[in-house]
Amino acid sequence: MSAIDIHGVAHRFGDLQALAGVDLSIAQGEFFSLLGPSGCGKTTLLNIIAGFLAPSAGTVVVGGRDVTSLPPHRRDIGMVFQSYALFPHLNVFDNVAYGLRVRKAKGEDVRARVAEMLELVRLSELAQRMPHQLSGGQQQRVAIARALAIRPQVLLLDEPLSNLDAKLRKEMQTELRRLLGNVGVTTVMVTHDQEEALGLSDRIGILGAGRLQQVGTPLELYRRPVNRFVGEFVGHANLIQARANGSGIFEAAAHFSRKGVPLQLASSHAAGGDALFLLRPERIRLSASSTDAQQTNPANPANSVAGVVRDASYTGAELHVTVTLPGGGELVVEAPEANFAEVPRVGAPVQLAWNADDLAVLPAESKGARI
């Protein structure tokens, strides 16, 4: 039995269809992320699971129980809010104990459980502090302890790390993994940060314009995105529109090729007709070209092209190089800086190559089809 089952959930805000027909099953103990840009409906979906919004259609089943018409306080969920929402008039101990006291737990049980939770988030010495005396990171840990104290069936996290600065965010990611790995509760997290989602989740559901675009493990989403939206949202992407030329090779659209000499792409995964290829920047091999930049390498015509460096930025660990192709189009390459003796100069001729397996096929779209 899955921990959460969502069937056909939809939600309208007046004229706006925020969610349209979402179906999702989340397994027991799984860490599931809802990922997407702002306005995609992920927070709406989380609020529907929590019970703060009633869906316009569809059902929500938690632990085998249909909770769609149940108020939030009867759903046995725990939630950590983006602003942490600690009760300012209660100290840390009373905050964590809140849910237990609502359930009329006995004094010693409350004390024991709160102590256990504070130990888990490593804040035992701060039990008597008031929320305004805590730092952002500390407040968040209290919020987590408070939500877990009641042993919920499901833990919901609403953009838990977005209010923290970059360094703290990395630390808290590790901390979250440790905490939730320990506890083993089914977790649903909402975030717009794909690195966060990729790093923490067992599976990710990508939402775009109110629909689930793809659900899968981080690896599946990264390597085999099902459409352009997912491909561009998760990681960086080079997108190449191409058409089959009848002999098993695809010829890229004009601005990727030189007039009369098209960029050829060979991929075992694509059928005939039109295709949109996705190529990850770190999969492109870049080497200096000693031959004329306008000629393609005759030995291996497909999956290789010559170009000219337009921009090269050095990030410390990597080099991000933007290469202009003969037809005017561009490809972005990311490579470890160790591969280079020096940073490529703007205007330098280079040779790009990649493997056929590195090309992901996305459904070809008509002009202007965007999410």
Partner: protein
């Protein structure tokens, strides 16, 4: 266009403590010194003057008026009743303010919220006599309530609704309710929406959430409102005079009568200073409690 440039650069102080600012402070301060501070001091002096049998002020001083204020059964009763009525009014106002403030804060339609604000604030901009008069029209023997009750056949003879303390309190509550609603609504509106949701996510229903989360967090607004209503009610004389009659045992009425009808100004002064000090002490205490709560919860 030329503009006056300050020649002494040290005067171009961006901290604001310029001579100009001090000059601007002067007129207001002078006015208040002349017509608030000086009268206050003179009032204290006046209250210590003796009066002769003809109620003429004598050049001698004594505490006789204060002794009279604190030993005369009439005045003690008046002070006690005044404080009691003020406290009761404050409590009733706070109780009624909660549903009113909640409605104000939770109304989504901008049009309706404006209507509610108009209902709340326009009474504050009309004269207190008018607001009191309306109650007379309602409660008088041939007033509206009696008229309606009689036509509905519920009573034969008109009820004497005026001239008692209950009517005064009802009028007080209606006149001063807006002062309780507004700060409470502000407090209520400042509660982040996530807090009641957090409470619900932890298993608390609406009732528990209200008692343990919303209510405590509205303490600053509630106290502000209670203090204002208490102070206003303690010093009110127009309303109780018109609705309750001159025989109501309220200190402000006594002061008014002593000053304008009996013309015993020193006694009136002593009584009013007594009222002021007692009211200020109670209001100060309530304010202290409120500040302490705010410091504990918000750190300032």
């Amino acid at each position: 266009m030329r503009f006056p440039v300050s020649l002494t650069l040290s005067r171009v102080s961006t901290s604001g403590n310029s001579l100009f600012s001090w000059l601007l402070l002067a007129p207001g301060m002078l006015f208040l010194a002349a017509f608030l501070v000086v009268p206050g001091i003179l009032l204290i002096v006046l209250s210590l003057h003796d009066v002769d049998g003809m109620l003429m002020v004598l050049p001698t001083y004594s505490f006789s008026h204060y002794i009279e204020a604190f030993t005369s059964a009439g005045y003690i009763r008046a002070l006690g009743t005044t404080l009691w009525v003020a406290a009761l009014t404050a409590v009733l106002c706070v109780l009624l303010a909660y549903p009113a403030a909640w409605l104000l804060v939770s109304t989504r339609s901008r049009a309706w919220r404006t209507v509610l604000y108009v209902i709340l604030i326009s009474p504050l901009l009309t004269s207190v006599v008018i607001r009191t008069f309306a109650w007379i029209v309602l409660l008088a023997q041939n007033g509206l309530i009696n008229d309606v009750l009689r036509r509905l056949g519920l009573i034969d003879a008109p009820l004497a609704l005026l001239w008692n303390m209950k009517a005064v309190i009802v009028a007080y509550v209606q006149v001063m309710l807006p002062f309780a609603v507004l700060p409470l609504a502000t407090s209520l509106g400042e509660i982040p929406a996530a807090l009641p949701r957090a409470s619900q996510s932890l298993g608390a229903g609406a009732h528990h959430t209200f008692l343990h989360v919303v209510l405590p967090l509205t303490i600053p607004g509630m106290m502000s409102g209670a203090i204002i209503v208490f102070a206003l009610a303690a010093g009110s004389y127009v309303t109780p005079l018109l609705i309750g009659g001159r025989l109501q045992p309220l200190l402000p009425i006594g002061i008014y009568q002593q000053a304008l009808q009996i013309a015993n100004l020193p006694l009136a002064a002593a009584l009013s200073l007594t009222l002021l000090v007692v009211t200020a002490a109670i209001a100060g205490l309530m304010s202290y409690v409120q500040k302490r709560w705010e410091r504990r919860v918000y750190g300032h």
